[in-house]
Structures are given as C-alpha cells and as structure tokens.
C-alpha cells in the first residue's frame, strides 16, 4: 500500500534506499535568524552559489546571507544606505551587487569590501535593477520614467532612455528585457539592442522597444518575470491576477496568452482580492511561483495551466520571491503589505523564509 512511504518505512525490514531518498527529500522550510527591521523589498539569490542571498529592505539596508552556513542562516554583511532600498541584484560575480532605492541612486556594492559606488542618479525613486551577465549590462528603471543603461565595460558612464511611464517592475530573460510600467504599459526590449545603445555612450538615447504591449489585465501591473527559456513572461496585477504571455508576436503564440485569478479569499461571502506582489520562475523546471498580499505562495505550471501546489499561508504579505540558481531553494520575503486606505504600514512579521525544495516539488506536469 501507499502507506509504505511514510517515515515509519525507515524501520521496516524491507527498507530500500529509494525510500530513504524520498524521506530525505522531504522539503524543509526555515526563517532567517536575523531579519531586516522594515518591509523587505527584494530577495535575490546568487546565480552561481545556491546559498548566497541578498535581501534589500526599507530599513535602508542590503544584507548578504549564507543561508546554510548555520541553522537560521548566517548574516555575512550588512550594507547601509541613506534611504529605503527598493531592489537589489547580483552583478558579474558573487562579490558584486547592484541596488537602487529612494535616494534616487543606482549603486554598485562591493560585497567583499563593503565599498559602495554611485553609478547614476535618477530624478525620482528607482524601483528596479536588472543585470544581464551575457551583455554585461545593468539596467535601472525609475519612477521618473526613464531607464538607465550602464555598460559595465565603461565604468562611471550611463545612458538615459526615456520611456512612456514610471517603471513598476522589470525582468530579463536571456535576450529580452520586459519593463512593466504605470498605465498598464509594457515595453519589451531586446537586450542586444540595449547593449549596443549603451555602447554608443550618448547621454540620452531613444531606443525603440522591440514590442510595446498593453497589459492583458485591467488593473495596475505589480510584478513581471521572464521565463528562463526565453519564450515569454508572466505578469501580475494588484487585482489578484496573473497573466502569462509569449514573446513570439505571431498570432498563434499570442492566442496562447491567458490570465487567471489567484490570491483571493472569501470572507463573509465577499471576495477579498489581494495584489500579487511577487513572481519568480524556477530556473530548472520553468514553473513559476506567485506571492500575494494574502501571504500565500503558489507554484504554477504556466504551460499546463495548472497549480502545482500552494504553501501554507505566511504570517504576512509575500513581497518578493527568488529561486536559487540551481533551483534547489526558494527565498520568500514576508512583510506586512501596504494597503489602500491605511495611514501607515501595518505591524506584522518581517521575515525571510528559505524553503528547500524536494527533487520534483516545483516540477510541472510531465509531458
């Protein structure tokens, strides 16, 4: 009977190693011991070291962790900035990070020495930074309605690309950059084009997006994430919905796009709809996770249009999600969500959870 797979199987006489494998694959989840003290804005795993994690927060800090050096993870270093930090990402190697925030600046952080260099200054808060290792290109997107392109071959210089609206979220696939903006606008750039433009080094350059799209959802775009296989992207809105669409402009591919409702809760017969704050694709399986204001993280198979699983509710809203480069771990930033009609950010748990995924926990439907 199926019951054989329960942990008691260990003591059964017919015990075989396969079962041990299943048992040891039991996923585990823990929270970091030392967490930021204010809302967490971003979590980012290193592409190469699966236990190296950056966390940015509204408490003006960027923190670097080794998630498995000791139980509860080890806080390796903390980099303080003058204003709340809105995004962080790893740079060319494990010792370089880029951050941006409400000091309007895009910073490079040397994680070893702690030295911070201002790469550029926007005219308003900077919402998002994305680094493309292949193109050696750092892109920052700001509420001032511009992108800054930093060609890291030429330190200290950057180019400004004016776009139609404030940037709310950005994500890069191997060849594309998706910029989600206010007014439900979405621009898709080819990273090659951006890299070339950055190479010219003019101060202000007009770069034609490869595609301009309107969000397929009716409400404000909250997050966007590109598929690791370069086929398309998922975006989410403040109205508990996620859309999946494909880059390929052909009618067939465009007909495949869809959106679905999620992160909603029935309360006294009323449907309470939470914003979907976070989206992240699994680098190996190509499935994706969504995190919402309801504190729930769900894993989805975007191709088979299935929900793979939904995790137990976290104690507060899920603000960001990141998978490690090998897809073994997922980091979930949990902080109280700011809701309309509130005067302040509510009190609540501010924690980063690390979940170790079992072998096929995030695997989609097999073909």
């Amino acid at each position: 009977m199926l019951c054989l797979r329960t942990p008691e199987a260990r003591s059964s006489p017919n015990f075989n190693p396969q079962q041990l494998d299943i048992v040891s694959n039991m996923s585990s989840q823990f929270e970091l011991a030392q967490n930021p003290t204010d809302v967490i804005s971003a979590v980012a795993f290193s592409r190469t070291t699966p236990t190296r994690l950056l966390v940015s927060s509204w408490d003006h800090s960027v923190s670097l962790y080794d998630t498995h050096a000791e139980p509860g993870g080890k806080l390796l270093d903390k980099y303080t900035q003058p204003a709340p930090v809105l995004d962080v990402c790893f740079g060319r190697d494990d010792n370089e990070a880029f951050s941006c925030g409400l000091d309007w600046e895009v910073r490079r952080i040397n994680l070893e020495s702690g030295e911070q260099t201002v790469l550029s200054t926007h005219d308003k808060g900077v919402r998002s930074v994305v680094f493309s290792p292949k193109h050696n290109l750092l892109v920052s997107g700001s509420w001032d309605g511009t992108l800054h392109l930093h060609n890291l071959d030429r330190p200290g210089e950057f180019s400004t690309v004016p776009i139609s609206s404030k940037v709310f979220s950005m994500s890069a696939s191997p060849t594309k950059l998706v910029v989600a903006m206010a007014n439900r606008a979405v621009n898709i750039y080819e990273l090659d084009t951006l890299a070339r433009a950055a190479h010219q080094g003019d101060n202000v350059i007009q770069v034609e997006p490869w595609q301009t799209r309107e969000s397929s959802m009716k409400y404000m775009t909250r997050a966007v994430a590109c598929m690791p296989n370069d086929a398309g992207y998922a975006s989410s809105s403040i109205e508990g919905r996620v859309a999946v669409e494909w880059f390929d402009p052909s009618d067939e591919s465009q007909a495949r796009k869809y959106a679905f409702k999620c992160h909603r809760q029935q309360v006294d017969g009323q449907d309470v709809v939470y914003p979907v704050h976070a989206l992240a694709f699994h680098p190996v399986h190509g499935t994706f996770a969504s995190g919402g204001g309801d504190g729930v993280v769900a894993l989805w198979d975007g191709v088979a249009k299935r929900r793979i699983r939904q995790y137990q509710r976290f104690p507060a809203a899920v603000s960001c999600i990141s998978f490690s480069g090998n897809g073994k771990y997922v980091a979930v930033g949990v902080s109280p969500g700011f809701e309309d009609g509130q005067d302040d950010v509510p009190d609540g748990a501010i924690k980063v959870y690390i979940r170790e995924l079992s072998a096929n926990e995030a695997q989609g439907k097999k073909k």
Partner: protein
C-alpha cells in the same frame, strides 16, 4: 428526503442517529455525517482536499505535501488519535459507543423530566415520551340550528350597520402577534390598518378571515417575514400564532372603554409597538444585508485599488520615511 423530525423523538430514535466520533455531534443522516467528517476532520489544511478517513489524510499529507499529520483536526480532547480508522459510525470502539449511548439515555430522561415538570403532564411511559406535551387541539363548539340562525341574523344586521362580522367565538390566546408585526413604522393613525373603518377590534376578535395580512408601512423588503409569521395571502390562523421571538407579549386586548378617544388608545398601542419594534430591530436590519450581497454578482473587495500609484510610491510618501526619502 429525510424523515420528518418529531418534536420529541423517542430514545430509540435518538440512539439510532449517526454521530461523529471526533466531535460527538449527531446528524439526521449518514450522508451528512460523512460529509461532515470529510469537511471538518479529514480535510487537508494545505490544499483543501477532503479525504475519507484519517489514515487517508495521513497518506495524502505525506505524499503530496511531504508533511506528517499528527492529529485529527477539530476533535474533542482525547479523540484526535490517528490510530483509529473511522468512517461514518464504523470503527468506533465499543466502549466509546457505549459511553455515547449512556450519555444519550441520561440526557433523554433529563429532558423528559424537565418537560414534564414544565408542562405539568405526567411522564409518559419509560421510553417513548413522544407525542405532544401540550394539547393544541381546539375545543369543539357545540351549536344547534337556533344558535346558527341567531348568528346569521346578527351578521346581517351588523353588515347593514357597517360592523365587521364576528365569527363564532374562539378561545384566543391574547399574545396573537399580527397586529404588532405589520405596523412597523406605521404612523399612529394607521395603527390598525386592517380595519378600514378605523375601529378597534372588539375583545377576542380574531383576524377577519379575508384580511390577507396587510403589510403597509413595513420597511423590510418583500419576502422578509418578521418573527417567521406566515405571509403571502394566507390569513393568519386565529389564536395559534406564537408571538414573534424577541417581542414582548402584548397585553390582552381590552375593548376601548367608552369615552376614551380612539386616538389615545392607538397611540398607547403604538408606544408598545415601538418598543417591541426596537427589541426586534436587530434581525430586521441584519436580514436584508445578505440578500443585497447575493444580488450583487461581483462582490469583491480590492485590498489595493489605486490605478496609477504603486504601493511603494505611497509608502515612500509616508511620514516615517520622509526624513530619508530624497525629494
């Protein structure tokens, strides 16, 4: 269809009811018990899947969520063990079953005794106290032809004089409710709108049989019945309608003493009605609300609904960050 439930089921009937091992609740029907167990005790809190037994849920938890089940949810203390394979009433250990039946028996006789004490009726035979504790049968009235004839004559005279017909005298329970119920919010002048002539009903007068429970001045939407009184063209049965719950009893009608102006009485009655209405107000205001909700197809509440300003921008504008945010 389930059997019609008796008001006072016998002990045997009570013992036959299926009951839940985990929470000691009993049910009309085995189907309901099983769906209760699936929903309350064997439901996966991760994905909401409803399993048939605790063992099934355990296997599901291990395989699907890679987690271990340690107890049955919502069980009373001592009953949350996973070792018993319970399905419906099957699998309940004999001693627990015996204990449950003893408890039913004890409660049954306790209730019967309390009822007998209250009603003053003798205890029925040891087991079946089924049947009615209080006789609700109306007393038969005996009339011979002469009595009927005099009534017919009286009726004709009354009708000619514009006096409403008085049906044969019936024992009326003074707390008949309809006059209270239909005049919510009605102005004092219309305190008794069912009497077009403005005349107060004489003592012991039941409803005129053709008055189809008038509802003027009643603020609730159609279909809402205060205190569960019958409505919709059905004339209220005289004498047997219990007062709506939450309403104080009406004092017995006394006919208007001669010389007292009609308006005084209707005003005092109206005071009574007003206080009664106040007491009964909560159900009135609470009931229409769900109706409204069900009418609305899209009853949703957006946690965040701004179209163009992201949560981060709003947070950045908060007082607590004002010192550090660059402007």
């Amino acid at each position: 269809m389930t059997k019609k439930r008796k008001r006072w089921p016998t002990l045997e009937e009570k013992k036959e009811r299926p009951w839940c091992f985990y929470c000691e609740r009993d049910f009309d029907d085995m189907k309901i018990l099983i769906s209760h167990q699936k929903a309350k005790h064997f439901k996966c809190d991760r994905c909401g899947r409803r399993l048939n037994t605790a063992g099934g849920l355990n296997v599901h938890m291990t395989q699907v969520h890679k987690e271990n089940l340690d107890r049955v949810e919502n069980a009373i203390p001592g009953r949350s063990g996973l070792d018993l394979e319970i399905f419906g009433v099957e699998g309940i250990p004999a001693d627990v079953k015996q204990q449950h039946e003893d408890e039913i028996t004890r409660k049954h006789f306790e209730e019967a005794k309390a009822r007998a004490h209250k009603s003053g009726n003798p205890l029925r035979d040891g087991y079946s106290t089924g049947g009615n504790a209080v006789s609700s049968k109306r007393q038969k009235t005996r009339e011979d032809l002469d009595d009927i004839l005099t009534r017919v004559v009286k009726f004709r005279v009354d009708k000619a004089n514009g006096v409403l017909p008085i049906p044969p005298p019936v024992e009326i329970v003074p707390k008949a409710s309809p006059p209270v119920a239909h005049s919510y919010g009605a102005p004092p002048a219309q305190a008794s709108p069912f009497l077009p002539g403005g005349q107060f009903p004489p003592p012991g007068q039941p409803f005129p049989p053709n008055a189809a429970f008038p509802q003027p001045g009643f603020g609730a939407p159609p279909g809402f019945v205060p205190g569960g009184s019958p409505v919709g063209g059905m004339p209220p049965r005289p004498g047997s309608i219990p007062g709506p719950t939450g309403l104080p009893q009406r004092p017995p009608f006394g006919g208007p003493p001669p010389g007292v102006p009609q308006s005084d009485i209707s005003a005092s009655v109206d005071d009574l009605i007003a206080s009664a209405a106040a007491a009964a107000a909560p159900p009135e205001t609470a009931a229409p609300a769900p109706e409204k909700k069900s009418k609305k197809d899209k009853n949703i509440k957006l946690v965040y609904f701004d179209d163009n300003i992201s949560p981060e921008e709003k947070m950045a504008a908060l007082q607590r960050y004002s010192a550090s945010v660059r402007k």
